[in-house]
Every structure is written in structure tokens, then in C-alpha cells.
Symmetry: D2
Subunit: 260 residues, 4 copies
């Protein structure tokens, strides 16, 4: 069995602290083989600096996936091509810096495929994530049947459709982007683990990571509002997924919510 | 203490069956004082017929709230004004059939205020739900501090902002619309219970209620696709909230997921 | 010189009548070599039946282009593959019925390439129209430098960006979809004729073709509203473009607005 | 007769230069009584500084209307309440800085009412512009029947619906926001002048004012792109409307397109 942990969008300073506080214990106690985290909000809510990425890897993350905020810190364009442990949504146009999938070795030398895709409903205009999945999964399956997708999308329908579409072809479809963990984790008929959203790892007393009074003010006034990451205690949101080494089928998915 | 149960979007035949199977036992075992359900998808996914409403009330629901699908079955325009137990989003323009809030008596003769509002992010262009809440809540509070809002919205940020904005002014903000239950139920500092989404009561093996192959086909082809409610076993999604009779403050919120 | 006429979205009965009344005279007086019309609203506003297509061809249209309403009349799926004179947006997924570009002969046996693409801003989630143009134009240019694109899009920025992106690679970029003719027709530096929107050929006293009181009611009430084509007198909106036979460069573009 | 000139969105340096070059001659030759201009893009595309406003007034503009970019230069919050000649969209929430309508005297001491509203289709979530118009127009009509609306909106349907809804109640509905002048100026049955979009006064060789290569790059890459105002020669887009002093009915509307 291979045990994967996927951590929901890491948001700002509180999110990064949550990684340091939680990953070592979980890896040890839960015997996790590979740790993934969505890093699109690592830099105070928007994007991820090189320094953020270093901090996240140092905290025990093996692979960082991204989302619609991937380019918010422009410096990522300079380092993403060199850092193969960062995977950005595959469905950006060809020629986009970085890569959309990768193969990663666990501590026990097992190979795990990782894909990142962005949804298109209420999201940027990218290539069709369903057809992109059709392209990428066979490439990864040549190396390993153990494959996890971070599907970064807004609409619950698009996420569920993706999971059903791919059921049996990969180990897990983990939704991200809404910053709220859903209570619908399950193993689909074909053996694919699915959760609509893993949630957020960041400041708890916030509106999806942002200082709540700023978001409320924005809704009340409809005027432009600079958002800032909230301070204070963190929440750590993740899922742990058990996958059969030889078939790539998931046999268990468990939600994690830790609090400071 | 007053115990309220809010049931997530009732979807089609399976959803209506779930109500009959689950409400009586829950009301008895959990000692529930008032049962609310979102009915916007009662008629096979779109809208609610008069017959659907009768069936839902007969199953033990005391108040039906609605959402963006409220007008999909046109006949509702004919009966919504006579049926005071149906509450549609308040932020439709003045003159819209039906009403957006109401006062309802529990079995023990306690008064409970109910408001329904629709979000505006990725949703129809209605009046500002925040300012509408500011209007309605004082009216209800003249009668009772025990007030529950069904905030029918897509974006997690809009739902959380609403809950924080109203914290301490009403008993509960229950999100609906995404059809996926979230795992973030909690009592905010001011005593307002909050969950981003209560989830869906309808066919489990589906994409948010719809036959999954139809939704997948729609995403793959981008061609118009008539959606049909899925068949098969149901899920029942709800929350149970305990509210202090005299202060209106919530002291507990518990998620319910029952399966056929 | 080759003279092309592109007619804006043909809307309902009034639009079809406008074709019969206007095309013969214009073809004769203006010496037009090829007549194109956008037919996505031919059937009372939504889609195009086989009978509509026959009527449009009989009125003197040589090529029908389409848009986001292409599939509204489902019967088109049955006849679009047999009728090579219908060109639907190319950027639907591979496998979609119909074709997205074609080569057509003028009365003088000159070859004209036609491409239809849909924008993505405020529109359905299709493949990137810019990259699709990069694919199609070279294919057509192997046969002829005289190429006209119907770019069916909402946002003025996307239409202008497309025209500048393709300037010098094809003869004309004609915007459609908004149903309002723009006054910005011009020849770009590289020799490509451009207009943001050709306009609508349909009922004049209407809101973009629809009975105006229905549209106003929809905006006022935010309730679902069945739209119907307006009656009454028509407007005929088109552009006439002169293209050099050997270079494919446009030398003139002229707007046409005829009224009943 | 009162002659009004409404100038389309003034974009950046080229737009401001166009005002200085064109207004004096037009006012003199066309005998214009009141000059209005949309200023939301005056500051290099985004918002309007105090200095921009001074420059625009000095160029001969009597009233500046705004749009969705009104708040992009934050300093406007400080000066908009003192400068009554700036009118921002009325349908922002109560309490928003500035005002949404005003009464202005022409050179001959005639009173002209001006309203600014923002559409809601593909635009920010503001109050219903139709119901806001119902509120404002009677207030202005108590002083004068000569009333011009700048309806800043994206969708052609929303603009046309507004014009038909208000036909006979005000002198003119001038659409702005798309930056492309439409060729549909006309007087409606009830005597209201209407044009879907007045167009843009700014750099001609651009994508709606922005350096075209930046916009093309944005569409091709879907990566964030800082937009900059284009340089070079300007275009000046406006309409001139003749209104009967005593009835407020428009009798003529004429489009203006001047080029450097
Ligand atoms: Fe995120
Ligand atoms: Fe995101
Ligand atoms: Fe629903
Ligand atoms: Fe809904
Ligand atoms: Fe159309
Ligand atoms: Fe269209
Ligand atoms: Fe503008
Ligand atoms: Fe604008």
C-alpha cells in the first residue's frame, strides 16, 4: 500500500506555519509515503515566491501543485522550470513555463504520478481539462498506476464530473480552490478516491484566508479592496489516501482537520 | 432550547423519498422542533410543482426555502402567494410573487424566523443580499431572536462573509446550492451557527443530482444537454442546530448524512 | 478583385425575409462574388432548422456560418455533416458534428476560404480561438490567400485582439454575436479587413431580435422568460469587402444597413 | 433646442489630447451647449486622477461620467465628493462616495439632468439599473425634461432594453464601456435618442485603448498581464444630440469620429 497525503491550499504565513507544525507528526504517525500540497496562495494569499516554495519543501512537502493564482508572484516564472517538484495546471497553453504533471518517488522508491488541472466553469479560459486528462493519464500510467490529480476548480459539478469520468483510470481526484473542505470523500466504483474539496491550510478566523472585514467591506461597497491574509491561529486541511501499489486503486480516503 | 433541522437541496424523486424515510425518525429521536428543507430542485432537478410541495410538507417539512431554480416550474407563480410555508430568496425585486421571510411556530409554540437569500457571485443579478439581510433581520427580531437563514450561493467567500457579517444577529446561516456538504460547521464568536453548504438530499450516484453521464457528456462536448435526475439510492444531507430560546444564540451544529 | 458580402446574424422570420429582399439586388448592383451569412438565430432566434437553411441558401447565401446558438435546434446534428456549406465554430472539441472551415468557389471559380470561430470571454468554454486560427489558416492558405473569418464573440477586446493577431494572414475578420453593427470597419496595416460586429439582419423594433417587452420584463423581474422573435419591419446588416485575388489582401470594407 | 455632446470613454494621454484638440472647434462649429465625457479610463486606462479631471474640465468638458473603473485611482475617493461635475454610476450602494446624478447649466442657462448607471450583465454586482432609473428620472424631471443617461454596460441586450424601457422619459440613453462606437444611433418612438455605444476617445492603434501586443499576449498565454495605454495617434468618438428645450424630446443624434 502507498499512503499519500494531499494538503489543501496553503494560505499565507499561517498556512506555512501549519505545514511545519503538522507534517512531521502526520508523516511519522500515519506512515505517509508522499506529501503533496497546493501552494497557489502561499504568499499571503496570492501566488508563491521562491522563498515560500523552499519553506514548504523544508516543511516536508514533496510535491507542490498550483491553481489559478500560480502566476501572481511573477518570480515563479523564473524558477518554475528548474524546480521539477512544482506542478502547475496542465491545461495552460503549450509553451507555458513549468509543467503540468510529474513522476515522483516515495521514500520506498515507489513511483507516483501527479497531475494538476484547472476547471473552466467560473475560471480562466484554459484548455479542456477532461481532454487534457485523457492525454496525461496514459503517459503517467506507462510508469505507474498510482496517480493523484489536484483538480483546481470552482463548480462542484465540474469536479464530480471529472471524478466520474476518470474513475478507474487513476488513484485519486482531489478538488481544491474553494478553501472549504467538503464532507463527501469516498471511493468511487472503479477505485478512484474523490473529494470535492480538500479545504484550506491557513488562518482559521478568516474568509477563505483573507481578513474577514476586508471581504465583507468588498461585498458591501463593491469597491476595489486590497485583500490581506488574516492573522491568528491556523487550520490544517488535508486528505490521506491509501492506494494499492500494483493496481493503483484507492482503498481508503480520510479527511484531516487540525487546529492550532 | 430549540432544535432546528435544515435539509439540503431536495433533488427529484430520490430526494423526496429520502425525506419520507428520514424525517419522522430524526424528529422523534433527535427531538427536532422545526424542520426546514431547500426545495428548489424537488421536481426532477428544476423547480418545485405544487404536488412536490404537498409531498414535502406531508413528509414532515415545516418550511420550504428556495433558490435560483425557484421559478423553473412556472406553476409555482400560481400557488406561492397562498402557501406561506414557502420562502423564496428575499432579494428578488419588490413585486416578485411569494415572500422572502416568515415566522413559523414550532410544536412547542416557539416562534422561529426564517430568511432566504441568494448570493450574487456567479449567480443571477439580484439585490444586495447583505443589505437585504440588514432589512429583514430587525423585522424578524421584533418577534423572536431565533432566526435561521438559508443563504443560497455559489462562492464560499460570499457565504463566509455573510456569516461573519451577521454573526450575533441571528441563530444560523446555512449555505445551500452547491449540493455538496461541507465539513466546516461551527459556531462563530457571536453565537451564530454556520456551515458553507448543507449539501443535497437526492440521488447519491450522480453529479450533484443529475445523471452523471449527461453531465460528463456536456463537459466533453459543450453542446446543449437536457439534464435528468439520476435514479437509484439516495443520500440525505442536513444539519441540526440547537438554539437558546431567549437569546437566539446557537450552541451546537451537527451535520447529518444518511444513506439508503 | 474578389468581392465578398458577410451578413450579420439572421434573426427569425424577419431576418429570412430580409435576405430574400436584399441579396439579389446587392449581388447584381454590387457585383458580389460570394455571399456569407451568420445563421445561428435563423429559427426564431435560436438555432437553425433544415428548412431555415434551405430558405437561406435559396435566398442567395453561399455559405452559412454559426455561433453559440448552433445546436439550439437539435435537428442540425442530423444534417450539418451532409451540408458542407454550413460552417460552425471550429473550436468545438474534435468529434463535434459539422466542420469549422471550408473552401468555396465564387461564380468566377475563385476559391475562398471561410473559418468560423467562437470567442471565449463571456462565452462557452471552447478551445483557444487564437491557437485554432493558427491551425486553420495555413491549411486554407495552401489553396487560396482569400480567407474570411466570422469571429463570433462578445468582448470587443477579444475581437480586436484576434484581428491584430491575424493581420496579414487572412483577408477579413468579421465579428458577429452582439447583433449591433459597429462603426469601426477598417483595413489593418497588414491588409486584413476588420469590423468588431457586422450587426443583425432581423426585426428592427426589438432588443437584438427579441420582442422588447419580454427582454425588459426579464431584466426587471430576473425571472425566467421565454424569448420570442419580434415581428414587424426588418433591418439588413452586412459588410462588403474587396479582396485582391492574388495576395488575399483586403482593399476596402463597406458597411451596409438596409431597412424595410 | 439644446445641443449636447457625449464623448466616449477617454483613454489615457491620447484621449486627453484628443479632448483638447477637438472640443473647442466642435463647440464653436456645432454650437454645442453642454459637453459630457466618460472619464473612467482617463488615467492610462484605469480610473481618473484629480489632475486628469482638471485637464478634462480645462479641455472644455462640463460633466464627467464614469463606469466600472471609477475607483481604480484611489485618490478619486478624496475629491469626488467636492467635485459636483463628476457623476459616477448611481447604482453603487447608498453611502458610496460621489453622486450618481446631477443638474448642470448650459451656457444659455438651460438646465440639463445627467444620470450615470452601470449594467449588471458581465459587470460588477450593483443595484438594478432599471429600478434605479425609475428613482432618479422623476427627481431630475422636477427640474428639467432634458436628461441624458450614460449607461455604462457590456451587453447590447441590456443597453437596448434600458433605452426602450425609458423611451419618452428622458432625452438620451448613451451606451459606453465597450470602447467601440456602434452604428445604430437613432431616435426611438417616444423621443429618446439612443446609441448602444459612443465608442472610445483614445489611442487608435490599440485594443480598446491598450497596447495591442499586451492584449494578444494575454489571450494567448492566459497569464496575468499588466496592461498599458497604447501610444500614437488618437481617435475622438462622440455623439451630438439635439433636444427640444420644453419637451426634452430628442430630434437628432449624430455620430462623430475624428482622427489625428
Ligand atoms: Fe486557493
Ligand atoms: Fe484557486
Ligand atoms: Fe440546488
Ligand atoms: Fe441553486
Ligand atoms: Fe446571434
Ligand atoms: Fe451568438
Ligand atoms: Fe471604459
Ligand atoms: Fe468600463
Amino acid at each position: 500500500m502507498i499512503r499519500l497525503m494531499m494538503i489543501g491550499d496553503v494560505f499565507g504565513r499561517a498556512g506555512r506555519r501549519a505545514l511545519k507544525d503538522n507534517i512531521p507528526g502526520l508523516v511519522r504517525d500515519e506512515q505517509i509515503d508522499l506529501v503533496l500540497a497546493n501552494g497557489e496562495n502561499a504568499a499571503g494569499g496570492n501566488g508563491m515566491t521562491r522563498e515560500n516554495a523552499r519553506e514548504i519543501f523544508a516543511a516536508g512537502v514533496d510535491v507542490i501543485t498550483m491553481g489559478n493564482h500560480v502566476w501572481n508572484k511573477k518570480e515563479i516564472i523564473n524558477y518554475i522550470d528548474k524546480e521539477k517538484r512544482i506542478v502547475r495546471p496542465y491545461n495552460y497553453p503549450p509553451g507555458t513555463p513549468g509543467t503540468g504533471f510529474g513522476l515522483f518517488k516515495t521514500k520506498n522508491n515507489d513511483m507516483v504520478g501527479v497531475v494538476n488541472l484547472s476547471g473552466r466553469v467560473f475560471m480562466p479560459e484554459l484548455d479542456c481539462p477532461f481532454r487534457c486528462a485523457d492525454q496525461v493519464i496514459p503517459i503517467l500510467r506507462e510508469e505507474t498506476p498510482v496517480i493523484l490529480m489536484d483538480f483546481h476548480a470552482e463548480a462542484t459539478s465540474e469536479k464530480a464530473a471529472m471524478a466520474y469520468y476518470l474513475d478507474g483510470r487513476l488513484s485519486a481526484v482531489c478538488g481544491t480552490h474553494t478553501h472549504v473542505q467538503t464532507a463527501d470523500e469516498r471511493i468511487l466504483e472503479g477505485g478512484t478516491a474523490f473529494i470535492t474539496d480538500v479545504g484550506m491550510t491557513g488562518p482559521r478566523d478568516s474568509v477563505i484566508g483573507v481578513k474577514k472585514e476586508l471581504v465583507v467591506h468588498k461585498f458591501l461597497t463593491q469597491m476595489p479592496q486590497k485583500f490581506e491574509a488574516a492573522n491568528g491561529l491556523y487550520q490544517f486541511n488535508a486528505v490521506i489516501i491509501d492506494v494499492q501499489r500494483d493496481t493503483g486503486q484507492a482503498v481508503a480516503i480520510k479527511r484531516i482537520q487540525n487546529y492550532e
